[in-house]
């Protein structure tokens, strides 16, 4: 190779990665970063989207949101829904993973159950919502079973009574989401060196001691990173709540996403909706930073 050719080759090597990345960066820039800037701009305008020359509104829309009791109720419901979901996803996922990992069960049964336990994960939020609406219908099978067992005395309107609606949607979401934990923890369990348990056996450790001093500490990195991701994603849930309760009855299941959606597309108050969307964005970004720092530290 001549020197000229070699330097040409070097230049190509230096430019190439940017060329390979450019289609992705253009799409992410135009369809993600630009819209994010746009929504922030909208939140400071009067009649955003609806008018061609919107006037500057200052912090008016943020003040309106923070003065709205429905916003605070939505924030509280979102927190309840998300925390309960993450805690139960983790608990159920862990219990199922430990059970499937036990050497007391037949390997064929283990594989069959693993496939079946993952099932709830395969269904779209809309379908999960429809299934649970059918199950929890006042005349549906859940009420009928609970009444047979004598647990409830009369038919409960799970999704349409303000006392139970939030618990009912949370339950449906718990059912739908534990397999992510289960699958990840199962993979994690298989990665724990067998010697740890053998050494513990020699020392005469009990089963619960092995669980708390070997298994859980070894799984901690997975538990933390999945919990963070699950928290971020659960916080953004929209279709499940939209289809089961639509945020009602009387706002009892209103969460930040349904609150924002209604502001934008039912009351066409796109400026105020943008302010609310920016609040959700900031919460997500805060958690994301935390997640990235955690991943880096690992």
């Amino acid at each position: 190779m001549t020197r000229q050719k070699r330097s040409h080759h070097k230049l190509k090597r230096a430019v190439a990665p940017y060329l390979y990345l450019s289609p992705s960066l253009i799409i992410i820039g135009l369809l993600m970063l630009l819209p994010m800037a746009t929504v922030i701009a909208y939140s400071f305008q009067n009649s955003a989207v609806l008018r061609r020359d919107p006037s500057f509104a200052g912090l008016k829309h943020y003040q309106a949101i923070f003065a709205d009791p429905v916003f605070w109720a939505s924030l509280w419901h979102t927190l309840y829904f998300t925390c309960m979901s993450v805690v139960f996803h983790m608990t159920i996922g862990m219990v199922f993973a430990l059970m499937l990992n036990s050497d007391r069960i037949n390997p064929i049964l283990r594989n069959v159950l693993r496939v079946l336990y993952i099932l709830p994960w395969l269904f779209t939020a809309v379908i999960i919502a429809v299934i649970w609406r059918l199950l929890l219908e006042p005349n549906g099978v859940v009420n009928s079973i609970l009444m047979q067992l004598g647990i409830i005395g009369s038919k409960v309107e799970w999704f349409s009574s303000p006392q139970t609606a939030l618990h009912a949607v949370t339950f449906a979401n718990i059912w739908a989401g534990y397999p992510l934990f289960m699958v990840s923890l199962l993979a994690g369990l298989q990665g724990i060196p067998k010697d740890f348990y053998e050494a513990a056996d020699i020392d005469g450790a009990k089963a619960y001691q092995k669980l708390f001093f070997i298994t859980i500490p070894q799984l901690m990195p997975i538990i933390i990173s999945i919990s963070l991701l699950d928290f971020i994603w659960t916080m953004q849930v929209f279709p499940l709540i939209w289809i089961t309760t639509g945020g009602g009855p009387i706002y009892s299941t209103e969460v930040l996403s349904t609150y924002t959606y209604k502001l934008a597309f039912s009351s066409y108050n796109l400026s105020q909706a943008s302010a609310s969307a920016v609040v959700i964005l900031l919460i997500s970004l805060g958690l994301t930073l935390f997640y990235i720092r955690y991943q880096r530290a690992r």
Binding site: L122, V126, I127, V130, W175, Q236, F238
Partner: protein
Amino acid sequence: MTRRNTGKDKLITVALHVALAAGLFFAAFPIYWMLSSSFKSNTEIFALPPTILPKAFTLEAYEAILGDPVKLRFFFNSYFVAGAVTVLTVLIALLAAYGFSRFNFRGKGSLNTLIISTQTIPPITLLIPFFGLVVSYGIFDTYVALILTYLVFTLPYAILLMTGYLNTLPRDLDEAVAVDGGTSWTALWRVIVPISLPGIVATSVYTFLLCWNEFLFALTLTKSTSMRTVPIGIQLLMGQHAFEWNQMMAMSVLGSLPLLVIYLVAQRFFLAGMTAGSVK
């Protein structure tokens, strides 16, 4: 491990199997109920006491769905949009992943962080500006609107998945091409793509699923019945025929088929995608 064949030990094994059965009921009963209800008549769905197996097995719900061109159109739209987005995503992500995996360049770390963090952007935040943009460019209620907006959400995952896969392939292979005087572009298509098929399949599967499940954008950026996708179709069915539960369940079963088929046929690829975002 030494197993003492004592009574206590047997009891633990029995208790474990009881717990496994309870777990199975929790996980699978709702799905079983959907499936069995789709083969029942509407009156039987609410029969007291509930019938576990359909007493009068009927395909009327499926006939009603598959015989209705409006509903078939929902399925066509879902397959078409998800298919188009998958092809575009995999191509674009493959290029980006190749850049990330095989080159060192300025800004690599920050770009990588940018892509990881875009995974967590709330869809509702982007929805309002997307709505404004889609309306002002005159693509409201079109496939283009859905395909473009879906790309934004599929791309970050696809890039991370593909980069992860390419990182597992030995570099000697493409360096051999460079020694022969070939460019990185030749190395990509001649060497990398043929051996990356498992990674490409996993990425495609996951992208397809993300699109198939999308609800919020399809709800807001389309309007006419002929542009709606399956999830919106199910919601519409619920609004129009609130009491046709057997049809809703049949449509849900049909709407879950692609996922179930992919899962059962290609479990490995499926799980690779589903856990991509979370396990590094």
